[in-house]
């Protein structure tokens, strides 16, 4: 297959996947839509779809018509910040064939540690946030040594280990908050406020951007994407990670230090998740009040799968997920689609998108097969 045909194929297939997903979603919305007559139902469905598809970027009002709104775009971009970090984290770990699910706990722990640095360690402005985020990342990186070393030394499943670790992290943080760190003067469990020096500033200081919490954290996330891309495709360590992911026996035979690289991939993944937690915490909040796992780690897994573990594709996948989630929120708010259905619709859309990735593998097999048949034909001609 030529490169051109290849790209055309991918675009067509993505469109088909999205269309099928929307069709199924439409059907579900129609079934649950309010209204007594068929016509009313149809109208409600149309409204819901409009909210979901164009609502995330455009304000729709009966008087002024549909108009683009910068604030909504800024909201979506801001929502991408933590999931870009977890997406990158999962990309690197999954590339080495390590199904470490610790990004979820990692981002919570990173956020918590950064928050503590922001509260209790006085430092000059500018430096404060950087140090807090780096310490948050470092602590999670060290913690990820646990599943990584257990895997390489004792063959303990990193999946089970990291999954359980998430809950340990969550409950330890809750315990510390409840027992020692909560600001008792508040009506709910939350920490003392961060020092002002630690805040991550909005990119543009106007109400649109600061309201959306679109901070320099977004720029940091994009820089992280580029660094991860360079690391994975342009450095010997990233190369080793990818080769181990493709064929571990080959990597070992070639003389790569398989164990060390597996540990490295998980430590790096931990660092990214932790740093992402710090960036999110110091950019969006003024005190620490998370009492449950934030869910960004799970979204990160979805993003990594959509991006086929390619760091450069992570922002696109993160944008898709943020857009979808925002659209579904709007649909629930304005179009009276029951909240439970939102999750189903989101699931359906994701399913078809991920299924497109499965098709990619199937197609790969087809290509190999057709190539082999070609060779067989050539050989036969030679013999005959």
């Amino acid at each position: 297959m030529t490169r051109k045909r290849e790209i055309r194929f991918i675009i067509i297939r993505s469109l088909v996947a999205i269309c099928i997903a929307l069709l199924v979603a439409t059907l579900l919305i129609f079934i649950s839509a309010g209204g007594d007559t068929f016509h009313e139902k149809l109208e409600a469905t149309g409204e819901a779809l409009r909210q979901m598809l164009i609502g995330p970027l455009f304000r729709m009002s009966k008087k002024k018509g549909t108009s683009f709104e910068l604030k909504r775009l800024a909201d979506i971009l801001a929502a991408m910040i933590p999931t870009i970090f977890t997406g990158l984290s999962v990309c690197i770990m999954f590339s080495a064939n390590q199904f470490n699910l610790g990004a979820e706990g990692g981002i919570m722990l990173g956020a918590f540690v950064s928050a503590m640095v922001a509260i209790y360690v006085p430092m000059p402005a500018g430096l404060h946030a950087v140090v807090a985020v780096l310490i948050g990342g470092a602590v999670v990186a060290i913690l990820m040594l646990l599943p990584a070393l257990l895997k390489t030394k004792l063959s303990v499943s990193e999946m089970v280990c990291s999954l359980m670790l998430n809950y340990i992290i969550m409950y330890v943080i809750k315990f510390l908050m409840n027992t020692y760190l909560a600001d008792k003067s508040r009506g709910q469990i939350m920490s003392y406020p961060f020092r002002e020096t630690s805040a991550i500033a909005p990119i543009v200081n106007n109400t649109t951007f600061s309201g959306a919490k679109l901070t320099w954290g977004f720029v940091v996330a994009i820089v992280a994407v580029i660094l991860c891309g360079l690391f994975m495709y342009r450095s010997r360590w990233g190369y080793a990670i990818r080769m181990i992911g493709i064929n571990q026996a080959f990597a070992g035979y070639s003389g790569m230090k398989v164990g060390s690289v597996i540990v490295l991939s998980q430590v790096l993944g931990g660092f990214l998740a932790g740093a992402g937690g710090g960036v999110e915490m110091l950019g969006r909040y003024t005190s620490f009040s998370w009492s449950a796992l934030p869910g960004y780690g799970w979204t990160g897994i979805t993003i990594a799968i959509l991006a086929s573990n390619n760091p450069y594709m992570v922002p696109l996948a993160a944008f898709f997920m943020a857009y979808l989630s925002k659209g579904c929120d709007l649909m629930a708010t304005y179009a009276k689609v029951p909240a439970q259905l939102i999750d189903i619709i989101q699931g359906v859309i994701f399913l078809f998108f991920a299924a497109e990735q499965f098709l990619a593998k199937y197609r790969q097999k087809l290509v190999v097969k057709s190539a082999e048949e070609e060779i067989a034909r050539l050989n036969l001609n030679k013999e005959g």
Binding site: Y239, A249, Y253, I375
Partner: protein, 529 residues
């Protein structure tokens, strides 16, 4: 008990006519093979590895479909589209690698896929045990129905496999190298059982290349070589020597220009290597030899006689029970592969798809896998992509890898080109010792020629080469001197391959002859140890 004495098609339970099988990668495994079985006989199917006997039997068992040709079972023309069709027509297969679930009991394995039920829901274990007992007694194959498969010895696992086929109604049993994993006592026991089955009218195909066993147990034999049948014989009418000559032989020799070797210092020194595998079978027995600079030492032998284990030890895929191996005086046993490579050892692995390549990665990524950390390919923390592209392009050109570009996936290449990618990497990073394990198996003539020429060229430039090959043509053509392995030991050492004939080789390869310890010891060029 042959119950049909008449001639004609009725005499045979199985007839395979003019079977040709061409695999998707273009390899012709069978070419116009005729094969037939009489009712109630034990029929040997013989041939070297790659002769096509497994392929032929896979087609009879429905695992593969013939490209052309016809199969008759009990006179009826059949299309055996899957094993279940073959089983329905009374054909069963006992695989060399057992197809059993280790964590289940013998009885549970017996009834897999045909589980007896209690009140329609629960698995009737008692019934399964009873069934196993009944069959076990009927055929005199003693197994413990309640033991877990993982706890029973290999010999009993094989009995379970045989019983499994019998329970499913098999009247024709295909046994793929059944004795390969058995100890001597277990083999003797198996033969008693097979003779017993024969008495009850069962037909058995016995795939093997062990001459003594064939002579002892079979009635007739079919010999295959390079995908073709070399004829059918009554076992009592042929001698071992004749079988050996028919089985082992060469095509027209493609002569290879080769200067005489001028061996230098010893590079690889192996002494008294011993290895006992997990089934307590001695796979390597006191193996000692030297490989010197500038020479190719060949290891010939029918596969499964310890060659694979030997290479595994030398590249630390496994650890021997005793003995030593060193490269330029430094011990290599147990060293990480990275350290072995640093000493200048390169390996062309037997299993190229598992070890040789990462099939989902590009050609470029595959050729730099052993050198990605080197200074010349790195600029600070990042790769020097220019240098890497140049290296990949150079190797693709020098080794004539047929591809669209260096970024093409290796898995998309043909077998010959995949192997060229492997040797391009292994031959090009200044090795002092090349271990070439079956370097040209299953690849096209062009690539084969190329790789053989390259091996000779490298050895003449002063590299030590250890060539392991089951291809007689290859070892005899390429090697300067040669050892033959049989049953885990060195059966013979030939200092010079000139004047060696296929007959002589065959006799040593199949264990009819063995050199004395003194003769074999000449392969250790320093005589002190």
């Amino acid at each position: 008990m042959p119950d049909e004495k008449t001639s004609g098609p009725g005499e045979y339970v199985v007839q395979m006519k003019q079977i040709t099988k061409i695999y998707a990668n273009g390899a012709a495994a069978n070419r116009g093979v005729d094969f037939n079985l009489r009712r109630g006989e034990i029929h040997a199917l013989m041939g070297e590895n790659g002769a096509g006997k497994s392929t032929l039997m896979k087609m009879l068992f429905g695992l593969e479909q013939p490209t052309s040709g016809e199969i008759f079972v009990n006179g009826e023309k059949l299309v055996l589209s899957s094993p279940s069709v073959a089983i329905a027509h009374g054909i069963g297969m006992v695989h060399q690698h057992f197809m059993l679930v280790p964590s289940l009991s013998v009885a549970e394995n017996m009834v897999l896929g045909m589980v007896p039920h209690k009140s329609g829901i629960f698995i009737d274990k008692a019934k399964a045990v009873e069934l196993t007992r009944a069959y076990s007694e009927k055929f005199n194959l003693h197994v413990d129905p309640e033991a877990k498969v993982m706890d029973i010895p290999v010999g009993m696992k094989q009995k379970v496999e045989i019983l499994k086929a019998l329970v499913r109604g098999a009247r024709i049993l295909i046994m793929d190298e059944p004795t390969a994993v058995l100890t001597t006592q277990e083999t003797a026991e198996l033969f008693v059982e097979l003779k017993n089955l024969k008495k009850q009218g069962y037909t058995i195909v016995f795939i093997s290349h062990k001459l003594n066993e064939i002579m002892e147990i079979t009635d007739r034999l079919t010999i295959m070589r390079k995908g073709k049948s070399m004829g059918v014989y009554n076992t009592k009418d042929v001698t071992k020597e004749e079988i050996s000559r028919l089985m082992v032989g060469r095509d027209v020799v493609l002569s290879l220009q080769k200067d005489k070797a001028v061996p230098g210092d010893t590079v690889l020194r192996v002494r008294h290597l011993e290895y006992i595998n997990e089934w307590n079978k001695k796979m390597l027995n006191d193996i000692s030899f030297d490989v010197r600079r500038g020479e190719i030492l060949g290891i010939a032998g029918v596969e499964g006689n310890g060659q694979k284990e030997l290479v595994d030890m030398l590249f630390n895929f496994n650890t021997p029970n005793a003995g030593s191996a060193s490269v330029n005086g430094k011990s290599i046993l147990g060293l990480p592969q990275q350290k072995i490579r640093e000493l200048g050892v390169a390996l062309v692995p037997e299993d190229r798809m598992l070890y040789g390549i990462a099939s989902g990665a590009s050609i470029e990524e595959n050729v730099i896998s052993d050198r990605s950390g080197e200074k010349r390919f790195n600029k600070g923390p990042l790769f020097n992509m220019k240098a890497i592209h140049a290296e990949a392009d150079r190797l693709i050109k020098e080794y004539t890898v047929l591809c669209k570009s260096r970024s093409q996936q290796v898995g998309m290449l043909s077998g010959g080109n995949i192997q060229k990618v492997v040797v391009a990497r292994e031959f090009s990073n200044h090795p002092i010792l090349i271990l070439a394990d079956q370097p040209t198996r299953g690849i096209d003539v062009g690539a084969t020629e190329f790789i053989r020429k390259k091996l000779v060229e490298l050895s003449r430039s002063g590299i030590a080469v250890l060539l392991v090959s089951a291809d007689l043509n290859e070892v005899m053509e390429l090697s300067d001197s040669l050892i033959v392995m049989h049953n885990g030991s060195i059966a013979a050492y030939f200092e010079d391959t000139a004047g060696l004939t296929d007959e002589i080789m065959g006799e040593y390869m199949l264990g009819l002859k063995k050199q004395s310890a003194e003769e074999v010891r000449r392969v250790c060029h320093d005589q002190e140890t």
